[in-house]
Symmetry: C2
Subunit: 81 residues, 2 copies
């Protein structure tokens, strides 16, 4: 069975997010000054072949730890649909 697994990778809260800060400046220039903070991360959709949702989640977790997220700068969250 194929599960669609979402991996959300975001910069750690403690760290500055220069890409987000740049986008916030751009939004201010466009007149959208009610946006007070922007943080930008990755959203990765995996199609995982597995017997159960738990197995699919565990495979996605291995993928996130080994390749998708850099634990020094990023945290990740996994959800299976």
């Amino acid at each position: 069975m194929t599960f669609s697994v979402q991996v959300k990778v975001m910069p750690l809260k403690e760290l500055l997010d220069p890409q987000g800060k740049a986008v916030m400046g751009g939004l201010g220039n466009l007149g959208l000054s009610s946006i007070q903070d922007v943080r930008i991360g990755k959203n990765i959709t995996l199609q995982v072949e597995a017997q159960t949702a738990e197995e699919a989640k565990s495979i996605a977790e291995q993928a996130a730890k080994k390749l998708l997220a850099n634990p020094v700068m990023e945290q990740f969250e996994i959800s299976v649909n």
Copy 2:
């Protein structure tokens, strides 16, 4: 009131996602061959100052249309927490 709004920007289904294909190759090399497809997009968290959740969503939608997503190549989804 400040709302936390998530904007999920993904490459259109019809288009090839070369970054996702490269990551899929990498996962295969790491032995995670049960992952059959990878698509990579952006996840953007906005802190929006607004009176209601609807207003916050509408501001985020303007931001997505004007700056965050490229409609030729990407689609976006907005959710307010």
